[in-house]
Symmetry: C2
Subunit: 164 residues, 2 copies
DNA sequence: TATTGTTATACTCTATAACTATA
DNA sequence: TATAGTTATAGAGTATAACAATA
C-alpha cells in the first residue's frame, strides 16, 4: 500500500494529464472528435457489437454512447444493423470508410506522439501503457482486459457478429 | 524511439483514462468541481501568484482560469488582491477556508485512491507518477517541473508573495 | 415488468473573440 | 500599441430523466 502523499500526487497527475489529452484531441480530423475516435477504435478492437456493449467498453452512459454513435453513423463510418435475436438492439459494424478514417486517426495520433516522445525508449512507453492499463483495471474498467486484434490488412467489412 | 503500435496503444490509454478522472471527480465535494480543486492545489503548491501564472500552471486559456478563479473566490477559498506593481494584475491568495477545503479534497481523493489501489505497491504508484509527469514534460507542460511544497501544518494564510 | 436504445435537459470544461483597464 | 484580465458565446463530453419499442 502506497503512502497518502503519493495518492495526493497521483490525483494531481490525473487532473493534469488533461493537457496531453487536449493536444492529442487537437490533432484529430475536424469532423472526428475524440468520442467518435473512441467508438471507431473500440469497434475495430472488439468487433461488431451492440450499443450496450459499446457503452460498457466506453465506460460512459448509454445516452452518451448513443450520441457518439449517431455522429459516427452520420459520417458513414459505421452501420447500425437490426439484431435478429432482439429487435430492440442494433448491431454496430465498421464500414470500409470507417476503417479509412481509423487509419487516418492512427496516422495523426502516432505522428504526434512519435514527435513528442522521441526521446522515450520502447520500454518506457510500454511501462506507462502497462501502468495506465492497471490503473483502469483497479477502477473496474473492463476495457483494460486484453482483447483480440483483428488483422487490419483486409479493407473488407468482415467483422465477427456481436457476441451477445 | 518506441514502435508505432505502442503509440496507438498509448493514445487509447489516454482516451480511456477519463473513466478514472470522472470517478475521482465524483468523489469531490458538490460545490468544488475539478477545476476549482486544481486551482486550490496549485495555489498551495506554488504559493500566491497572478492570474497569468495560474493559467500557465493549469495549462488552459486565461479565460478558463478566470472562470475557475471566480468560482473559487465566490466560495471564499481565495482572495484576489491588487498587485501594487501592476494595476492590471491581481494576486491570488489562499484563505484559511481554502486550506480547509483543500484538506477535505485531499481526504476524499486519498481515501478513494487508497481504496482502489489497495493492492499497488509504493513503488508502482511512484513509477506511474513519474511516467505521467514525464509525459506532461514531453508535451511541454510546465506543471511537471518540481516545486516547493509549503508546510501544510499551519492553517494561517502565510503564503509567499507572487514572484512576478 | 424489465430492458434496449433515443432524446431532452443541464452541467462542466474548454477555446475564441470582443471588451475594459492599464502599461 | 501591447498586455492582464473579464465576459459572451460556442462546442465537446458527460449524466439524469423521460420516453418508445420490445422482451
Amino acid at each position: 500500500m502506497a503512502e497518502q502523499t503519493q495518492f495526493e500526487e497521483l490525483a494531481r497527475q490525473l487532473s493534469a494529464v488533461g493537457v496531453v489529452k487536449r493536444e492529442v484531441g487537437r490533432a484529430l480530423p475536424p469532423d472526428c472528435p475524440a468520442g467518435s475516435a473512441a467508438v471507431l477504435t473500440l469497434l475495430r478492437r472488439h468487433g461488431d457489437m451492440r450499443m450496450s456493449k459499446l457503452a460498457e467498453l466506453l465506460a460512459v452512459d448509454m445516452s452518451v454512447t448513443s450520441r457518439h454513435v449517431a455522429h459516427v453513423a452520420a459520417h458513414g463510418w459505421i452501420e447500425r444493423h437490426p439484431d435478429p435475436a432482439d429487435k430492440r438492439s442494433r448491431i454496430l459494424c465498421l464500414t470500409p470508410e470507417g476503417l479509412d478514417e481509423l487509419a487516418e486517426l492512427n496516422r495523426r495520433t502516432t505522428r504526434l506522439l512519435a514527435e513528442r516522445l522521441a526521446d522515450w525508449t520502447d520500454d518506457e512507453v510500454a511501462q506507462l501503457i502497462r501502468l495506465m492499463t492497471r490503473l483502469r483495471t483497479s477502477f473496474g474498467d473492463c476495457r483494460s482486459s486484453p482483447v483480440r486484434l483483428p488483422t487490419p490488412a483486409s479493407e473488407e467489412n468482415t467483422r465477427t457478429p456481436a457476441s451477445t
